[in-house]
Amino acid sequence: MNNPFRATRRNIGELIAEWSIRAIASVSILVIFLIFIFVFREASTLLTGSEEAPTEQTSTSSQETTATSTTQSEPDVYNPDAEEPEVYNPEAEAPASGEEGAPGEFIYIAANPAYPHIYNPSSGLIPPDIDATSSEEEVIAGDTLSFGENFLSSTWQPVGEVPKFGIVPLLIGTAKTTLIAILIGAPLGILAALFVAFFAKPWIREIVKPGIELLAGFPSVVIGFFCLVTVASWVQDVTGVPYRLNAIVGGIGLSLAVIPIVFSIAEDALSAVPKTLREASLALGSTEWQTAYRVMLPAAAPGVFAAVLLGIGRAFGETMIAIMATGNAPLSSFSPFEPARTVAATIGSEMGEVVWGSEHYGVLFLLGVLLFVFSFGLNAVTELYVKTRFIKRFQGK
């Protein structure tokens, strides 16, 4: 704004006000850096702490790792009766140490009278072939694993004599529920956006669009509660699965969070396609639906792609729905009908009871770093790649 007619009197007060507005504007950038620095700082206590542990055991570590690899090739060693409570239930020991009903203790692990079918390790419902890594030898071997090996192993059992922080089951659980959520949410969101953008009469659009936007305002704990109480019962009635809470229920819950995001971004993208394309297509004799599906949708593809990416970001980062509806068992199973546990849900359910500054605390922050980096990357891709392509396509820049 280099307006030559602008008043030239610029007193000190005004300059200060301008610069303080600039300074406040940089808060958002600052916060991004602070999140990264401080979440990482808490996680880094782990790296400094774990460096001491392996050095004490360097003499035995090579021996022990070979022991681990041999036991992993022999899944038959697994003994369900002896090992089950220890391996499947990471929080089983916790109630004994904490007071009754302490925050963060989940009754679903203990026998819960209201939900007898919730995943319960002591009921022995889990088929023995789910977790092949739970031999007794490995429980001992886990003691001397280096942090890196421990972190990439397939057992998540943070509370116990030998804490194990294998994130593989958490990653599998996250991938499983996110995939289900996207498979349900993305088509529904995109098709609803198509309907609202091209097929609906104006008065219907005026109702449907704010209606779906209201779904975006549903607190996730409400959606989680709905899944826990209602959807879980429906799914069990329909499919007859043994576990009341499983990845499918969690995925349905997450899809409810994904739908409004996919819908509104896809709808924006579809409406942003120049009207001339639609008119040209109709003028050439194609029908309304042909125009919508074969001209407008491909033209808006980068925006729709961005919608799906942001939907994925929402699904894997969602905490409350995942805690309440997935069953929360850290299994390395790809079956959608078995319980799953996501990275975000792990932080949410274990952070409350962890000793601040401990190794477990550091691992949870490391999981937070993982979530942050992943969402940051996803957002950077949509910002820099998808949007520029979309602009290029229609503005010829």
């Binding site: 309907f195 309304e288 952070m351």
Partner: protein
């Protein structure tokens, strides 16, 4: 376009019929899910939302009584959050629309940061609250003044965490309303000899008060329902009294619902309480969002 459809052969018309039908089904399904959820809550909890329920303390370890401390805690939380977050968000939006050259690297990085912030999972904000607000800021304040009340989870740190979380919501809403102020008004003000700051304070901001209001309301709606971010930053599952200072812990509607539905000793017995709590929480956020949507659609028409 009925005149073009009639010229198509039958199989194509059937295909077209299905193409429209499938989109219609999707839209109906989504709206149906929303109505179904709402109806389900209303049916199961509607009769339990009474004046006593809203104004009584919970009794018998949360299995009886009302939700007053949770309701009051949530209200205090969002008020404090608005006080902390809205001024920052408004100033950022003013910078972006009034001061920034749109293609300068600083403006672009602010925009990128805001978009990124909107996509960060809320649980990460919770960790940030622990690491930055409680451990770093609270710890520093305690060390500097010899107090011991800041280095733990509290209403203040929860509100600060939520203020950061809702910052993008405020910025986007306020920016939209600032852009809706006609350029003529700004130019007229400048032509009369007003400085840029005078123009902003006396012309632009009064004309976009509704936008600032919308932003605050949307932020409140988002903050009131957010549980994951405050899980370890100061919320408590049971409290005999209302918080009397910002450094005290508080109860929260969403967390109350979470505790009742997953950690209560008798989930079945408290089911009506859970539905009623859901209804109150949903009603609160619903009201906020509906108001914001209505204000916004009026703004867009103008």
């Amino acid at each position: 376009m009925q005149f073009s459809a009639s010229t198509q052969p039958l199989p194509k018309r059937l295909l077209g019929f299905f193409a429209v039908l499938i989109a219609l089904t999707a839209a109906v399904a989504v709206v149906g899910i929303i109505l179904g959820m709402f109806g389900n809550f209303l049916l199961n909890g509607g009769t339990h939302v009474t004046w006593e329920f809203l104004t009584e303390f919970p009794r018998n370890s949360n299995t009886e009584g009302g939700i007053w401390p949770a309701l009051a805690g949530t209200t205090l939380l969002v008020l404090l959050m608005t006080l902390l977050g809205v001024p920052v968000g408004t100033a950022t939006a003013i910078y972006l629309t009034e001061f920034a050259k749109q293609d300068s690297w600083f403006a672009r990085s602010v925009r990128f940061a805001v978009n990124t912030l909107a996509g960060v999972p809320s649980i990460v904000f919770g960790l940030f609250g622990v690491g930055f607000f409680i451990q770093f800021m609270g710890g520093s304040i305690d060390a500097a003044f010899g107090s011991s009340s800041f280095g733990d989870g509290s209403l203040l740190w929860s509100a600060a965490t939520l203020a950061v979380l809702t910052l993008p919501v405020v910025i986007v809403a306020v920016e939209e309303s600032l852009r809706a102020v006609p350029r003529d008004l700004r130019e007229a003000s400048l032509a009369l000899g007003a400085t840029r700051l005078q123009t902003i304070v006396k012309v632009v901001i009064p004309n976009s008060v509704t936008g600032i209001l919308t932003g605050s309301i949307l932020a409140v709606g988002r903050g009131a329902g957010e549980v994951a971010a405050i899980l370890f930053v100061g919320v408590t599952y049971s409290s005999e009294v209302l918080p009397s200072a910002v450094t005290e812990k508080f109860m929260h509607l969403g967390y109350h619902l979470f505790v009742l539905s997953t950690q209560s000793p008798d989930v079945e017995k408290t089911l009506p309480l859970q539905f009623a709590t859901t209804l109150v929480l949903l009603g609160l956020t619903f009201l906020m969002n509906l108001t914001a949507i209505l204000i916004r659609s009026r703004l867009r028409k103008r």
